[in-house]
């Protein structure tokens, strides 16, 4: 198949799933005729009709709330929160109900829904459009949170998310939407949710990133490799929650060093959870303190200075080298 960017790859996954399974529906603001503000759902309404590609009134709580109802009755709704900043409104329904129907009925009901949340900075957008709040969502028991980093895994992760029997928040790194293209195979693939991927093997240090930071981190890793020949093991986290203890700790036990690159604010972020996980299962293999190359605990600034606050290739490189040189 042709090389696709991430927008096209997610669109492809939605298209494939809607074609395969009539219970899959897409709903959200402007997802129908407009094809979504990022064009992720473009062309779906023409193919599947407005009963399955639903332009909703403008109400995020209702988008997820009605999606929960649909899911309870056997549909597989894929809802869209237009931007991360508007997605906090979905949390009461997600935490209050979406994550709980299975537990509160011991499995009689379950909620197989996907909420798509474009997130992250770097696209010169207005306020509330640039946050990285995966940790807040990952903290909710009963909710899975996944983040693709490129076109190929975006497609397979979307497929896995729709097939999953539980609520999945699928966060889309806006900055990576059209940043690069990748060969996407003809045959649909899935990625097991809850599994991280070792994308590059190495022995000197483990570096973990996800989403848009994966791209930044890859560049930093390549720079370090060229500059000093360090052997770096790079892990794409892919699933924020439930986190893949095994892959992370197996790598750290091998390398003895770890750096995590995240766009999210420093405190209580996924990097902190990764460190705690390593503490539980691989502490005695650490040669150096774990480094977090992270966003800061500030209200995300407007785009004129936004890039100063996001981890850059340079910051990622310095952070990784700090651990290597400890």
């Amino acid at each position: 198949m042709a090389k696709l960017n991430m927008v096209q790859a997610i669109n492809l996954a939605l298209d494939e799933m809607m074609a395969e399974d009539p219970s899959v529906v897409v709903l959200g603001e402007d997802v129908g005729v407009d094809g979504g503000v990022f064009r992720v759902t473009e062309g779906l309404i023409e193919k599947y009709g407005e009963a399955r590609v639903i332009d909703t009134p403008l109400a995020e709580s209702a988008i997820i709330g009605t999606a929960i109802g649909m899911a309870l009755a056997g549909l597989k709704p894929v809802g869209e929160m237009q931007f991360c900043g508007f997605s906090y409104i979905m949390i009461p329904q997600l935490e209050g109900h979406g994550s709980r129907y299975r537990a509160r009925t011991h499995g009689q009901f379950h909620v197989p829904l996907v909420m798509r949340v474009p997130y992250g900075g770097g696209v010169r957008a207005l306020e509330h459009h640039s946050e990285s709040r995966e940790a807040a969502l990952g903290h909710l028991p009963g909710v899975k949170v996944v983040i693709p980093s490129g076109p190929r895994n975006a497609r397979s992760l979307m497929r896995a998310s729709i097939l999953d029997p539980d609520p999945v928040v699928y966060m889309e790194p806006k900055r990576s939407y059209r940043a690069f293209k990748e060969e996407v195979p003809e045959t649909p693939e899935t990625i097991e949710i809850g599994r991280a991927q070792v994308v590059q093997e190495g022995t000197d240090i483990t570096v973990i990133a996800w989403g848009a930071m994966m791209h930044t981190t890859k560049k930093a890793v390549e720079e370090i490799r060229q500059a000093r020949g360090a052997s770096i093991e790079l892990i794409d986290l892919l699933t924020i929650s439930p986190m893949d203890t095994e892959t992370i700790c197996a790598s750290v036990r091998k390398t003895g060093r770890l750096a995590v690159v995240q766009e999210a604010p420093l405190s209580f972020g996924p990097a902190s959870e990764i460190i705690a996980t390593v503490n539980d299962h691989a502490l005695m293999h650490l040669e150096a303190p774990v480094k977090r190359v992270s966003g800061y605990d500030v209200v995300t600034p407007y785009f004129s200075r936004e890039n100063l606050f996001m981890p850059t290739v340079g910051r990622a490189r310095r952070g990784i080298e700090e651990v290597l040189d400890f």
Binding site: P57, A59, A62, T66, G69, P92, A103, H106
Partner: protein, 365 residues
Amino acid sequence: MPKKELDTFSVSYLSILDEDGNVDKELEPKLKKPELIELYRQMVWARRTDERMLKLQRQGRIGTFGPSTGQEASQCAVAFAMKKQDWFAGAFREHGVRLLRGETLTRQLLYYNGHEEGNINDGAANPRNLPISVIVGAQPLHAVGLAYAMRLQGENETCAVTMMGDGATSEGDFHEAMNFAAVWNLPVLFVVQNNQWAISVPRSKQTKSATIAQKAIAYGMPGVQVDGNDALAVYAAAAEALDRGRRGEGPTLIETVTYRLMMHTTADDQYKYRTKEEEELWWRRDPLVRFRGYLEAKKIWSEKDQEALEEEYRLEIEKQVKAFEEMSGWKPDAPFDHVFGTRHERIEAQRREFLAEIAKEAARG
């Protein structure tokens, strides 16, 4: 350009069987004798079990619950109008609906004694009853989604009924649900049990609207206020709304004007904010007394019938309480089974630790 009137709206109030036993023969629903008796039996069952639960709570045999006494007509008559395939998305004061739709007292007791198992509606209970929603006003959205799914899946004869209290009408989700249901023209019946109090806040402080029913107008759906202690009026309104839904004519809002005769929950003292005099006024409007009078006037119910019913229920309640209290062998790690439908090592590791810890705690005595 003078201002001109675009439209005019009105709100109607429905009452069929009044406080004094007068019946509007024109509006009287055409229910057969056994149906009327069955509706009455269900209302009495709801009342007696509610009373017993209050005693059990006071004895520490169950936890906190919100009594439904006084609202039996609002609850049972709605459920009586529903079909088995209809969905029900309720809050936490629809005891009568739940019992009528097949949930047992035993399950209610389990739920109120802190067991998720009380939410499982299998067996005789209707699997289309969603479990109790404690968060006020959240569940109407689920009903809208359910109705959407039904229509998409071709179940055109199925409606979704959602119930809530007057307090819930101040929540955003209530309005979003009304709006979505109307825009999508879905077969959803919104029933607001206006029992005058949201814990301590009276209806007058909840909304400036003269009625709750009129809120339907803004969303483009029919809304009607009914005498919520009049089982016939509630039944008639609900039946009509459900019929309209089945015909593809969209959602309806029903406001049942009733009264919470007891405390908000067993953790509440209603005399902090209202008087016994006010309660006594409403006791005189007791829906059970009114409906029994109606049946007796029809000569289809007698004191002897009542005595037999009371004895039947006394025994049944004892049986179910006993069954509840004899239940044991709860799986302590069940919550780990139901985090996800898929197994994940991160959850399983915590389960193992949990089991080891509780074993050690038990060994510690």
